[in-house]
């Protein structure tokens, strides 16, 4: 019987097979570090007198709590500054490459890896961050780990792991205009729930996935964790090879040819079986929005706030009641009438150049809603530079948006970019948890297109709701 892509990646990294219920030992090709989940791991190494086994397979950047304003001044928040200083000292002590604030290659770790060409098909990639699943878009086995595991990888370049189950997410059909990768993944999570992927590696397949750009594929894999999955994968193809080719760390010459030949084998065999399968038709999708406090609580934007009384499952009903109370929403309210205080465009989910282009195309020539703040935070310094080279920064600034430096920013509010209590956001990020974007803040997860249209109208909106919408071109984000 054939094997799935996830199984191929597993077996090609097997260092030692576990016996008697012990986990397998899996080799890690790339380990990315940031300031939040690494300090205690380095502390652990020091305490045990251990070294980093492979500094040459390790890279660090600063992202989670870096400011997006005045980055040339000392960081005002003392604890943030301490974490960042600690990462810099650890990188120096252990000989690890670091891209610090102000460096052109600084940015959200999951944006930086792919853009440097360090993420490739056939690899295992880990980082002390759950959104490491992003890198699965390349056909790499990529997943988030905890700080103990960070220490473990630093010391041994391996991880003891139990095999995952596999789930196919088949997305056939063609996405309607104005509907994006973000809407696919929000629909998948709404369908299978925040626990639906637990124990699984998801493989996204089908025509709608094949036709997506690499950046859109990253958006999908990024949010695999929100369905509870450990990782998400997309088999590499010409789109992938094209994206990797020519990047700073991409293989060259004979190495490139050898790599591509190997990468072409990284597909699930025809006769392989998955432990579970989920089917979706992209043609049925429309722009999605979350109404609750977990990413599974989402509905099409054209719908209304749901009534918990209509939810059969008691736990889900209870969760919906709590969520609506927190979100300050009344059942039956059309989503498109919900006013938004802040629009956040950015994060490892939707902070890439295509996302910025798609949003800029919507707002160009339009005026921002007067009471809505629009925060644009490129995923990396390179993304920012690219956007500036294309003049997108000016489009955002002319519109009335705030054009910021790169980082995780308001996705998780560890830096000063936070929502005030009861402030409501439309956010292109990945989590609408209570307090995620600031204590008491209320988050609606949306695509970059919906974010942009919302900034124009001031209420949750899709591009089709804008005047003159018929002249819009479909964006790929």
């Amino acid at each position: 019987m054939g094997t799935t892509l996830a199984e191929k990646l597993w077996s090609s990294h097997l260092v030692h097979e576990g016996e008697d219920g012990a986990p397998d030992l899996i080799y890690i090709d790339l380990h990315m570090c940031h300031e939040v989940t690494s300090p205690q791991a380095f502390e652990g190494l020091r305490l045990a007198g251990r070294q980093v086994r492979r500094p040459d397979l390790t890279i660090a950047t600063e992202d989670h709590n870096t400011p997006t304003l005045d980055i040339d001044k000392p960081i005002a928040d003392l604890t943030s500054r301490t974490q960042i200083d600690t990462l810099r000292k650890n990188a120096e002590e252990f000989g690890i490459r670091i891209h610090s604030l102000g460096d052109a290659d600084q940015g959200v770790v999951h944006v930086v890896g792919p853009q440097l060409g360090l993420t490739m098909p056939g690899m295992t990639v880990v980082c002390g961050d759950s959104h490491t699943s992003t890198h699965g878009a390349f056909g790499a086995l990529a997943f988030g780990i905890g700080t103990s595991e960070v220490e473990h990888v630093l010391a041994t370049q391996t991880l003891p792991l139990k095999a995952f189950k596999t789930m196919a997410i088949n997305v056939d059909g063609e996405l309607p205009e104005g509907t994006t990768a973000k809407d696919i993944i929000l629909a998948v999570i709404a369908k299978i729930g925040t626990g639906g992927g637990q124990g699984y590696v998801l493989e996204y397949r089908g025509e709608a996935i094949r036709s997506l750009s690499m950046e859109a594929r990253m958006t999908i894999c990024n949010m695999s964790i929100e369905a509870g999955a450990r990782a998400g994968l997309i088999a590499p193809d010409e789109t992938t090879f094209e994206y990797v080719k020519g990047r700073p760390h991409a293989p060259e010459g004979a190495d490139w040819d050898e790599a591509v030949e190997y990468w072409k084998t990284l597909v699930t065999d025809e006769d392989a079986t998955f432990d579970a399968e989920v089917n979706l038709n992209a043609a049925d999708l429309e722009p999605f929005v979350t109404w609750g406090t977990n990413p599974g609580q989402g509905l099409p934007l054209s719908a209304t706030v749901p009534n918990p009384d209509d939810i059969a499952d008691a736990d889900e009903r209870e969760a919906a009641i709590n969520a609506l109370k927190y979100m300050g929403l009344t059942p039956g309210t059309p989503f498109k009438e919900i006013p938004i205080d802040t629009v956040f465009l950015g994060s490892c989910t939707n902070g890439r150049i295509e996302d910025l282009r798609a949003a800029a195309a919507i707002i160009q020539g339009r005026t921002k809603a007067p009471n809505t703040r629009f925060l644009v935070v490129p995923g990396s310094a390179r993304v920012r530079l690219q956007a500036e080279a294309e003049g997108l920064d000016q489009v955002f600034i002319d519109f009335g948006a705030e054009w910021r430096n790169a980082g995780c920013s308001m996705c998780l509010g560890m830096n000063p970019d936070q929502l005030a209590p009861q402030e409501r956001s439309a956010s292109t990020s990945n989590r609408n948890f209570e307090g995620r974007q600031g204590k008491g803040g209320r988050t609606h997860l949306v695509s970059p297109l919906v974010a942009a249209a919302t900034a124009v109208r001031g209420t949750l909106s899709s591009p089709a709701d804008l005047e003159g919408a018929d002249v819009l071109v479909g964006a790929s984000a």
Partner: protein
Amino acid sequence: MEKITTHTGVGVPLRRSNVDTDQIIPAVYLKRVTRTGFEDALFAAWRGDEDFILNQPAYTHGSVLVAGPDFGTGSSREHAVWALKDYGFKVVLASRFADIFRGNSGKQGLVAGVVSQENIELLWKLLETEPGKEITVSLEDRTVTCGELTVPFEIDDYVRWRLMEGLDDIGLTLQNEQAITDFEATRGSWRPTTLPAKTEPKVEIEAARPVQ
């Protein structure tokens, strides 16, 4: 790591499903660089509410958390486990855990036991009827006992063994160091290394300024 075979302590009923790691410890507390001292951060957003379960004197010194389904979802932050441990919890019971949280728990010596939702409900009732009631968790027998009630819990065999032996992960792995070295010799030359560093040309990044 401390060996655990059985633990007895006050049970705390947390009647909430989907308690994600942002609820267990909000991101603002992740800025610390130490490994201990996170007890004040546990459930920080709820601790201000006097009705919150841990603010009720009978439960304040609880060490066995009996939680709703899908406990520990969301962010991979291991601080969630540290915060629970620093507060004094030794065991968390739920009908379903997020994978990463459960993995982190095993590595840090926090027992994450899977109990059927039906039995969780029974435990909740007992603990609410008699606040401050103790629960005994036996890793040896894989059982949870609360008064007259004894119910089974599930835990991965390997994790259970490690908890009972108090074994450190890195030490275990380094027993296979030769296998790691042998594997490294087989890796294809196309596989990237971060060093020496390659980048696009360095460019000055202009600092964004606040909008007036």
